[in-house]
Point group: C2
Chain length 345, copies 2
Amino acid sequence: MDLSERQKKLLAAIIERYIATGEPVGSKTLVDALGMPVSPATVRNEMAALTAKGLLEQPHTSAGRIPSGAGYRYYVDHLMKQYDLSPVEKRILDAKLRTASGDSRQVLETAGNLLAEMTRCAAVSTTPSDAAAVVRRVELVPIGARTAMVVVLTSSGIIKSRVCRTDAEITVDMAETFYNIVNDNFLGKPTAAMTVAKIQTLAVSLGEKTLQMTPLLVTLAQLAATTEHTQMLLEGQSNLLGYREYAQNAFELMDFLRHAEPLDRVFSEAPHSADGKPSVVIGKENPYRELQNSSMIFGKYAIAGHESGTIGLIGPTRMDYARLIPSLQYLTEIVGKILSDSVEE
Amino acid sequence: MDLSERQKKLLAAIIERYIATGEPVGSKTLVDALGMPVSPATVRNEMAALTAKGLLEQPHTSAGRIPSGAGYRYYVDHLMKQYDLSPVEKRILDAKLRTASGDSRQVLETAGNLLAEMTRCAAVSTTPSDAAAVVRRVELVPIGARTAMVVVLTSSGIIKSRVCRTDAEITVDMAETFYNIVNDNFLGKPTAAMTVAKIQTLAVSLGEKTLQMTPLLVTLAQLAATTEHTQMLLEGQSNLLGYREYAQNAFELMDFLRHAEPLDRVFSEAPHSADGKPSVVIGKENPYRELQNSSMIFGKYAIAGHESGTIGLIGPTRMDYARLIPSLQYLTEIVGKILSDSVEE
DNA sequence: GTTAGCACTCTAAACACTCGAGTGCTAATT
DNA sequence: AATTAGCACTCGAGTGTTTAGAGTGCTAAC
């Protein structure tokens, strides 16, 4: 698909104007607003050509043009000039995220909130996960006579903890047995191996002594499960209501977003550029019907060098790609950096 | 306000029908649907009487009646027959909540989700808090050479933890100093006393040795802060989009809900019945304009006997009070019970 | 006290009409 | 050969009018 220089300029102008206003762009408006050194008629001819190539669409005969999916795609791939965040904005983001640091979920939550606020889109993110992770450390923190906190640390730096209540009192002896069981059976093994089933067979084979501590072990298994099963976080969905294009089917989309599971699949199925650049999925390119008049931008964040989770944006197809892509990219970077901090080098 | 038996019956019928259909109820429809042993004309007379008393309203002269705020209020206070959850439903709720147990936030989140799902309303909840809480225990869990997890337990049973990274290596000696500082200064004191400012003056007075551990102490202060500042959780806001009455101003309401702070105030300001029954705020009774065509039902849950947080429902004024009130009540009870489990007796 | 009957009211839907932004084509201009 | 002015045409959004129907209030009869 080759376009003349003028066509490129025009296409970019049309798309940018449509993104800004949300209304079909007509030839006259375009010439007036952009001060192009040509007449509306010329512009009309070019627009007809671009329409023929499938880059523009006409809602009806006597309306202006709006970009087609292919139009956006061409724009994103070839025309768009990305607008990076200013150093000041970056510093503000940094600061806000740092204060949330500590719990990965909280970092992602604030990241999502910031992103939603900045972009007026819905922000989605998945908590870190690493299927190949290995159990690196388990700790039992006494809280009360019959309550303890179980802490798991994996090789990929994920830390999870949960409070657990046992039927019997937790003695030093019992804690020791717990550590022994853990050391013998789970340390250095993949988290996936630490299942409830495995623990039950273990409890049987070890006999009476372990009976009182099954709650502890079960909690451990549950924690292991959460390190694998990634959670989805969704922020700022209400932003979408501000856009004309969602006036009718807002409910459908929101309902879709609320059921995290398919979204999770969207991310893993979608093509993602290898080089750390965010991926863009535009309108109909999307496999799910509910998302076909939306676009998504998403990128992976890496903890200690491993791609661990995704942060994404969902908004109308006429989103401001030129600004949002760099914003998202910066955020994935900084989130990765912050989350890596809790992993030992 | 005294009504005849027939008027009561009629009012209840009108409200219930309006709740179900969302459309103004006319005299004929009412007689047909309810098989009342009177004619539409009689019903009309009674309706006129109820309108005169301010319990019903007419959108326009030739439409049916809809309940007024006062009408709902009368219904909720005097007419409504509450529908409890069935034992089966209760058991299902129980089970689902139990699996989330461990982290109070997670319990509330699932509770909110379940509530939203069941009621098709938005569910709000606040994490437990207790201003009078005292620091009962602090633990430092080693994670790596320079990473540790700080755990705080308060007298009201709130447990919070966060991972912290220090500049220097964490030695046994250092941990001991940390415990000493904590024991001497914070244990048994209110969480509110454990502020960053306090910690800084402390660090100065104790000199060099504590310098390396300020990150740990700061984390501690942050944790203390989170035990006081309650968080708001909001689930199922998209449910609201399903109702006709929110067609236009959905955005306004959602935006209001998203900014948790005022909602927090709503809960604390609103009158709450003393006896553990949920409170109901109907339409215009609400102090905030954005909520004035919504109703709220909310109740407090208690951890170990102390009222600790709120769970609430927000929906259109024509919500199904008869079912939602008992559902909410049951949920506050069970959430309180589950959260109390992690507190020692 | 209840009910049938009837005139009255108001909304929502259907329809006709106008206005204007925008188009595509053709012929003139550079 | 590319550009542009001119012009007839299209279509949607907005406006006024009409009509059907649901629902009401009132009166007089039961």
